[in-house]
Amino acid sequence: MEVAVKVDHVFFRYEDNGPWVLQDVHLNIKKGEWVTFMGRNGSGKSTFARMCNALFLPTKGRVMINGRPTDKKEYLPEIRRQVGMVFQNPDHQFVAPTVRDDIAFGMENAGLSREEMIERINRVAKEVQIHELLDKEPHRLSGGQKQRVAIAGILALEPKIIVFDEATSMLDPKGRKDVLQLVKELHTKGLTILSVTHHLEEALLSDRFVYMEKGNISIDIPTSELFSSLPLLEKKQVPLPYRFALYRQLSNLDEHQMSSMLEELMRESLDQ
């Protein structure tokens, strides 16, 4: 098993003597794995996400990206290139007057040649279907388009890992669907995906489900066990989306055949 992200007993706080935001977070993420992170606001999910490309460094413990520790300065450029981050607010991540220039920005910093840049822009624009937007001003795009442009800028650097920090939470349903579809495709192509979200349905698309509480991981299961773990989520007062709640009601009535029929129905509709 090749490990893409190794998180080794990580503790983090913003100030000396301040409260711990992360407390003994420990997990390994396999290459090509898609992991969903959920938890209440303030549980440490976003702080954790920012550890993965050295935006924050552990106060104690260690984070390794493809074997390189994030706290060694000499690895920083490589780690930043390998780990792309997509943030919640699409308006907070644009620097250039056109979509094309914005995608070029990261590559310029990475010192790529002009020819290489042009080739990559065309390639990623095709991949995320924004070629008709290349000459537009980023701030005039819809939320879903903005997030796709942000993803294009990351893909141009040919990353190994992409971290989505609530990247769909400010989008309308159409925008969310488009971005999720794109994430699915990236996963199929072998990228490692870390996705922080509040939508339990999104977890069903991924390989693994991690629930965080008070800076620590309290649930870490393959998503195939998500349905049998719903009582645990209920105990943690996580409101279940309607379909999961209906599933629970059927299980409570001991109608296991019907609940598995419902599970199958839900999995079928994911592929649409």
Binding site: S142, H198, Y242, Q249, M258, S269
Partner: protein, 292 residues
């Protein structure tokens, strides 16, 4: 308080290459004490519409009548100011607008500006704080050291303290975790039932609309294209899809089950527990195991 739109037009950046007709001949009524969700894609005109209700925008043609006050192209500043007192508006991410150094100052800023008595406000603060799930110890703290959910409650309470007759909510649960969303919906529902105010909610989330509102207005390209009671509109799945909108997750799921397993539910507004019971009952009545 009743709100009426009469052939209202609004144009942004008039006579420039960017001229946009954001509202086109909109006529509609929000009855006094009603709860309405406005839904539509980004750019459909939802925000432009509600900004006419509290006088942030004036119509370019037509009228908006809010509790008898007629706002047209020539409306005076003073008129618009009275509107702002009657109409409370909770913007998207209202916590981004906090600015005072204590929660108490933050809460009192708006109401004092509109001339409410400080003594009376301070007297009712404890009850009001409890209404939104906060307690008095928060008053002396800086709003900026609160959690996101607490900050949003403070921002919302500062609007509710002005005792608006109309409350407009622009995506009030965006960015909150599911538990926070649930609590926020409870808060607005409780407040509305107590105050009998007219409530208007802008949202992308059909499920949120279903939980908070009885009426639904669908907007597309600056026009109202569908309007009516929630259940009437949810029956028109195909028409909604035409405007890029989905029916709520719960309704969609129940319809899927009906189709796939030949069940008929008594309504699409069942709780999960009710739906499970009806489904099991129907299966037992048929006395056979539905094929998968």
């Amino acid at each position: 308080m009743k709100i009426e739109f009469r052939k209202t037009n609004h144009i942004y950046m008039k006579k420039t290459p960017f001229e946009t007709h954001a509202l086109r001949q909109v006529s509609t009524t929000f009855p006094s004490g009603s709860t309405t969700a406005i839904i539509g894609q980004t750019g459909s005109g939802k925000s432009t519409l509600v900004q006419h209700i509290n006088g942030l925008l004036k119509p370019d043609a037509g009228q908006v009548i809010v509790g008898g006050e007629i706002i047209d192209r020539k409306a005076k500043r003073k008129q618009l100011k009275t509107l702002r007192q009657k109409v409370g508006m909770v913007f998207q991410y209202p916590e981004h607008q906090l600015f005072e150094d204590t929660v108490e100052k933050e809460l009192l800023f708006g109401p004092l500006n509109f001339g409410l008595s400080k003594k009376r406000l301070l007297k009712e603060l404890p009850d009001r704080l409890a209404q939104v799930g906060l307690d008095e110890t928060i008053l002396s703290r800086s709003p900026f050291e609160l959690s996101g959910g607490q900050m949003r409650r403070v921002a919302i309470l500062s609007v509710l303290l002005m005792k608006p007759k109309v409350l407009i909510l622009d995506e009030p649960t965006a960015g909150l975790d599911p538990k926070g969303q649930e609590e926020m919906i409870k808060l607005f529902k409780g407040w509305q039932q107590e105050e009998k105010a007219t409530m208007i909610l802008i949202t992308h989330e059909m499920d949120e609309a279903l939980q908070l509102a009885e009426r639904l207005v669908v907007m597309d390209k600056g026009k109202i294209v569908m309007e009516g009671m929630m259940t009437e509109i949810f029956a028109k799945t195909e028409e909604l899809a035409q405007f890029g909108l989905d029916i709520p997750e719960s309704v969609r799921l129940l319809k899927q089950i009906e189709e796939k397993f030949q069940v008929t539910f008594s309504s699409y507004q069942l709780t999960p527990a009710q739906a499970a019971k009806e489904w099991v009952k129907e299966r037992n009545r048929k006395g056979l195991t539905p094929h998968v």
